[in-house]
């Protein structure tokens, strides 16, 4: 149960961790206490000023809230697809989720990683052109599948990587997240999807397998970004290409 203390921000832990662990050691912690500790950790993230850290404006929570909203809408959409009757309209929820995802990664951050983003955009456009050229059918499924998987990995994995970096998730955990949310579901779901025709329930199930973890990953990263706070487009982002100008 003492592992729950890791949910608290680092500055809070430096000040209170030792005595907090002492309390957890002295008192047997039940489920209600565990929930109380988790809520306390959320509170500590939302009020960093309590331990002398600078208070973050509410706008720093906005990218995280957008990412959380995008993930939840994405997840809801594909659950809806799975449970809806074939004749039902699926609605425009997915477009709205993607829009929120783009808003959660503001332009200034993209500019700071200009070269890499440029390469991704070129690859996306290439994949889209390839998708236009090749019609979707079981016969030429292999090439079409390659285009679909490439586009999905570039767009899906790229966006999730950017937002995960923004949420302060380290490289190891980021790769794990990508594997669970994009690579493994795409490897399992998309090839199965290629074997079904449009409107086939098996194809719908495969699509849900391939995409549902992605929405859940966005929601989780969004929650982390919300409690941690994240600079917005109004702040000056650190540029990896910035050079110091000597004083004259």
């Amino acid at each position: 149960m003492s592992r729950l203390v890791r949910l608290y921000p680092m500055a809070w832990r430096e000040r209170y961790e030792a005595e907090f662990l002492g309390v957890l050691h002295d008192r047997p912690v039940d489920r209600r206490d565990a929930i109380d500790v988790v809520l306390g950790a959320v509170d500590a993230h939302l009020h960093p000023e309590l331990i002398g850290a600078a208070h973050q404006p509410w706008t720093h929570r906005l990218p995280g809230l957008l990412a959380t909203g995008a993930g939840l809408i994405w997840t809801w959409f594909f659950i809806h697809v799975l449970t809806a009757a074939p004749e039902d309209e699926w609605g425009g929820g997915i477009g709205f989720a993607v829009l929120l995802m783009f808003m959660a990664v503001p332009g200034d951050y993209l500019v700071a990683f200009g070269r890499r983003i440029g390469a991704v955009i070129v690859a996306i456009v290439a994949a889209m052109i390839l998708g236009r050229i090749l019609p979707w059918s079981a016969a030429d499924g292999l090439l079409n599948l390659t285009a679909g998987v490439t586009a999905w990995l570039l767009v899906g994995a790229g966006m999730l990587t950017l937002v995960a970096i923004r949420a302060g998730i380290g490289p190891g955990l980021r790769w794990l997240l990508l594997a669970v949310a994009v690579l493994i579901p795409a490897t399992v779901g998309i090839p199965i999807l290629g074997g079904f025709g449009p409107g086939d329930r098996g194809g719908v199930a495969a699509m849900v397998v391939a995409t549902l973890p992605y929405g859940l990953a966005w929601a989780l990263v969004g929650v982390r970004m919300t409690v941690r706070g994240s600079a917005t487009i109004q702040d000056t982002p650190p540029s990896p290409h910035a050079t110091e100008v000597p004083a004259t």
């Binding site: 809070w12 005595e19 907090f20 929930i35 500790v37 988790v38 809520l39 306390g40």
Partner: protein
């Protein structure tokens, strides 16, 4: 509850309990929890305890003493004592008013 603790939101009541617990001398976190549970009948979770302690410390109503092993005692500051006294006086007046009105209620 006056503004001093009222502005603590959901931590106002736990903060009041902590101030009362520290009124008879310094205590560490676990001692505060057991004391509060004994006199209020309601258990206080560790997350709530430290959320309230951080707020009280930030406002200068309590101060941390040197830690003993992993236990760090807290004590009331002068401002904390004054604030607690004002809170209790206000509650006392509130209780007397309520009880007085119940007594005068026509049957």
């Amino acid at each position: 509850m006056t503004n001093a603790l009222g502005e603590l939101g959901r931590f106002a009541e736990p903060a009041m309990y902590i101030l009362v617990s520290l009124a008879d001398g310094p205590k560490h976190g676990y001692a505060i929890m057991t004391d509060v549970e004994a006199f209020s009948g309601a258990p206080m979770g560790p997350g709530t305890l430290y959320g309230a302690l951080a707020r009280l410390e930030r406002r200068g109503l309590i101060e941390a003493l040197e830690p003993e092993d992993r236990r760090r005692p807290y004590r009331l500051t002068t401002l904390g004592e004054t604030t607690l006294q004002a809170q209790l006086m206000q509650l006392n007046s509130f209780v007397r008013t309520g009880l007085g009105r119940l007594d005068r209620k026509p049957s």
